[in-house]
């Protein structure tokens, strides 16, 4: 590294950089000119991801190896580039720099060896393709570097172990003290570096360019809230990859196929054909095919359709649990692509699993998922003295603290109706001024939206927003996390900005303020099931647990997978209405896991989870199965 570069070397470097840039530019043309997406750069997130490897380190071993390799490349690179300018630096810092350099190289060596070992051991056959080339190159680079350093040191024949360069000294033991060898090693090092630069666009090293870019442009704001397509402009989902926005394509380009999404995907875990990693890989493969088509390299008249890459079974297996989005270290979102594909299937092709059709039809004509109609929407509240917005005495802003949003499940499903009544009991006991929309409420639109029927979603949402505006509602509380997510995160795009909170958030506050008192024990050991739409979608993890803790005599257990790793109940994303014919039933898998925690009561905070887990628990073959209850019910019971 001390040798300054000749002009020929400079030429080589320049051409390597040129090839790299050209290669990257060609890759980028796959997605660069595609449909626009609103995305803004996020320097903070990028710095977090690069410097601290925040998300990558969620898996400590391989994350650590990556961190080591990353810094093992970046530090020497900076030092060597700086060295070319021939700064005169005093001895002490120079020694320190040398030490850092040495240690960084060593970290790279260890990191790469670990990663290579993992790859060769081949536990993961689906792993990224073409990873071995850059790994071997990196290994050559670091070994030749150390050997050159070792040779230099054995030429100098230093007796003591130089503290500035311990690893180099180690290598000096094996390297001959020949200047020729040293020169050879330096050339090898240099050419390997050139090759690596050239290899960036064509091998797995591409991720070094695409992944940080993806983190930089990652989606911000409410997480996994679907974006509103402009339907009239023909955005009705993704038929082929060309219907995706550039950001969605960048996602596919950036994916390193690490498989973390798949390991947390309930569909993959329960042996369904869906794997978010495969979805992303298919998208990338199709991007490449489409690009080849445009260049006339292939003789295919039609651009390949997504449906040929991603089957119906795959796209309908998704529960929209967001685990894939949560666990991707580089902010790739397989979920929104699956929804885009569903949108095209449902709106463009009118292809929808037959089981879900009656539900959609009920939403169209009756405005609820059960087809009971708005006339019956307030039946659960009959003779309960539940104040309704439309009824006298008129509630104005001052009397009304909060609007209780009931949701279809809470209004019609017998199990969930109990929860609605329990919530009414809690709110009345706490002296909160609340009201329901009653017959004026219709489905928030979540089931339609997740299934892909954006037109229907809009129709429902607009009607609801009209009502909310009419009554000038400021704050909403709801028992249903799906309603919560839709009202809070997705209605703003339609121009409805309200404060929306989940029942557990509100109830916890009431308990803390001592406005309600929990007197009676309900269970000994409880375990909380994290609803996807409450936890991962809205970061409400702690409140349900705190509520359970404040019930007298409750000992709280944790399920094996909890909080952001929480396992879906299998009911989200419209799956509630679809048959589950392939693999295990997700709700049974989850129910078993919850039961194994040793609890005698499972607390759910979502009407879907409640029903799904209840079904799951019932089909367990166990001596004593836990009961499933909504946390709101538990609170109402504990109040006596």
């Amino acid at each position: 590294m001390k040798a300054l570069l000749t002009s020929f070397d400079l030429l080589l470097i320049a051409s390597a950089l040129l090839i790299m840039t050209a290669g990257l530019a060609r890759r980028w043309s796959l997605w660069r000119k595609k449909k626009p997406a609103s995305a803004s750069g996020d320097w903070g997130g990028l710095a977090d991801a690069l410097v601290k490897h925040r998300d990558i380190l969620k898996r400590p071993s391989v994350g650590g190896a990556h961190l080591a390799a990353f810094w093992g490349v970046v530090i020497p690179l900076i030092v060597i580039i700086a060295a070319q300018f021939g700064f005169i630096i005093p001895q002490a810092p120079a020694d320190l720099l040398s030490l850092v350099q040495d240690l960084a190289g060593f970290a790279l060596l260890v990191g790469i060896l670990y990663l290579m070992f993992r790859r060769i051991r081949g536990a993961d056959s689906q792993g990224p393709a073409r990873t071995l080339v850059p790994m071997v190159l990196l290994l050559i680079i670091v070994l030749s570097g150390f050997l050159a350093e070792g040779a230099r040191m054995s030429i100098l024949e230093t007796a003591a172990i130089p503290w500035q360069s311990p690893a180099g000294w180690l290598f000096s033991v094996v390297s001959p003290s020949s200047p020729l060898f040293m020169q050879m090693m330096i050339r090898l090092h240099f050419f390997a570096v050139l090759l690596l630069i050239v290899a960036v666009p064509f091998t797995f090293m591409r991720h070094a360019a695409a992944s940080p870019l993806n983190v930089f442009y990652r989606k911000r704001g409410p997480r996994a809230a679907l974006t509103l397509p402009s339907i009239d402009a023909g955005q009705i989902g993704a038929k082929s990859v060309e219907d995706l926005s550039w950001k969605q394509m960048l996602d596919a380009e950036a994916c390193v196929a690490c498989g973390r999404c798949e390991e947390n995907c309930p569909a993959s875990i329960s042996n369904k054909p869906l794997s978010p990693r495969k979805v992303i890989r298919n998208i990338r493969e199709q991007m490449e095919t489409v690009a080849a088509d445009h260049k006339g390299l292939r003789n295919q008249p039609d651009a390949p359709l997504l449906e040929t890459g991603v089957s119906a079974d795959e796209m309908w297996a998704c529960t929209s649990c967001m685990a894939c989005v949560e666990h991707c270290p580089i902010c790739v979102e397989p979920l929104d692509k699956i929804i885009e594909m569903r949108r095209y299937q449902v709106m463009g092709e009118a292809r929808l699993p037959a089981e879900a059709r009656p539900m959609i039809r009920d939403l169209e004509i009756y405005g609820d998922t059960q087809g009971k109609g708005v006339a019956h929407r307030a039946d659960w509240a009959m003779h309960q003295g539940v104040p309704q917005m439309s009824q006298a005495p008129p509630l104005n802003g001052s009397d009304l603290d909060v609007l209780l949003w009931v949701g279809c499940a809470g209004a019609f499903h017998p199990r969930n109706q109990e929860t609605s009544r329990a919530m009414v009991k809690i709110l009345s006991a706490a002296g909160i001024g609340f009201a329901i929309l009653g017959k004026e409420e219709i489905c928030c639109g979540d089931p339609a939206r997740r299934i892909g029927d954006e037109i229907l979603f809009r129709k429902l949402a607009r009607a609801n927003i009209d009502r909310l505006n009419h009554y000038q509602v400021k704050k909403i509380v709801t028992m249903c996390p799906h309603c919560l997510n839709t009202l809070k995160n997705e209605y703003p795009e339609l121009g409805c900005n309200l404060e929306v909170i989940h029942a557990t958030e509100m109830v916890l506050q009431l308990i803390r303020d001592k406005r309600i008192v929990l007197k009676y024990p309900v269970a000994d050991k409880m375990v909380v099931h994290d609803a996807c739409y409450l936890g991962r979608y809205n970061q409400v993890y702690q409140q349900p647990r705190d509520i359970c803790r404040s019930v007298p005599g409750v000992q709280l257990e944790e399920a094996e997978r909890n909080r952001d790793k929480g396992f879906c109940c299998g009911g989200g994303g419209g799956r509630m209405w679809l048959h589950e014919n392939i693999g295990q039933n997700i709700n049974v898998v989850r129910a078993e896991e919850m039961a194994n925690s040793g609890a005698d009561m499972i607390g759910a905070a979502c009407p879907y989870c409640l029903v799904m887990l209840d079904d799951g628990v019932k089909s367990l073959e166990m001596e004593k199965t836990p009961k499933v209850a909504d946390i709101i019910d538990i609170v109402a019971d504990a109040m006596g």
């Binding site: 339907i231 009705i236 449902v346 709106m347 463009g348 092709e349 009118a350 929808l352 059709r357 959609i360 169209e364 004509i365 009756y366 109609g373 708005v374 006339a375 019956h376 017959k439 037109i455």
Partner: protein
Amino acid sequence: MKIIVCAKQIQHTYARTGTLPESNYISPEDNIYRVDPHDEAALELALRLKDQREDATVTLLTLGPMIAETEIRRCLAAGADDLVRVVDPNGAPPPENEASASDPLNQPDPWVKSDLIARAVENLGGDLALCGKASLDRSSSQVGALLAHRLDRPFVSAITDLSMDETGGTLRVQRSAGRGVREIIECQLPAVFSVDLGTELRMPKFSRRQWARDYVPRQLEMATDSDIPKLRCTHRFQPRPRPKIIPAPDSRLHAYDRIMQLLTGSTIEKSGEMLTGDTESQVAGIITFLKANGILESDHADT
């Protein structure tokens, strides 16, 4: 081949949650406006035929005011080629006449309706006319038969499936003959069928939805006054809301019997004793029974 599907836009009352006796305890949100599901089934059968045969066209025909416009446009979007509205040339809200003015549902009688439809079908040159077996609001089940009569065509009621042979001359329909009995009937064109429930209308594709949204329905001017109404509905009574009583299972029975009781609709089999012998001994038997059950208390009865 031209298929005409009659689609009736109805006000369907699915609930009775109102409080006022004058309104028959029906509040506005107890109604939905939709195309009659029988007619939707008819449309689906027509569309399936159209999928098989390239020369087939499907025309939707509707009478009366457009009270369920989104729904009828949805039907159009599902795959029909055009939508024809029968309107009164005199500008009166179609079709209005003496009878319909006093009709509780504000509809003309089936005789008048079938006349209008028959003339429309002839005007449009329809080879096959399909309509629903009945409608959810009036449920007279007459229009199909009367239409066939007026057009002098063969008629099959309550069909559930429809196909055509290769040559294109014969239609083969499946008919539900009640209590699960099915019939396969072959029929020559032109014909009139009425369609039973059971087939679900397909979902429309987006491109068709957009086309249907902007579609301007064709108007067919058809005067009604030539035909004198023959039927008149003078009253229409809503059912009185009655509380449903489900008897609790007899608690003295074993669990198995209780479950059986629930499953069989809680009819309890009657058991009794047959009295035999001459009249004297039968009377004596009755009196003994009544006494034994504490229904008769004194002995004075037999003196």
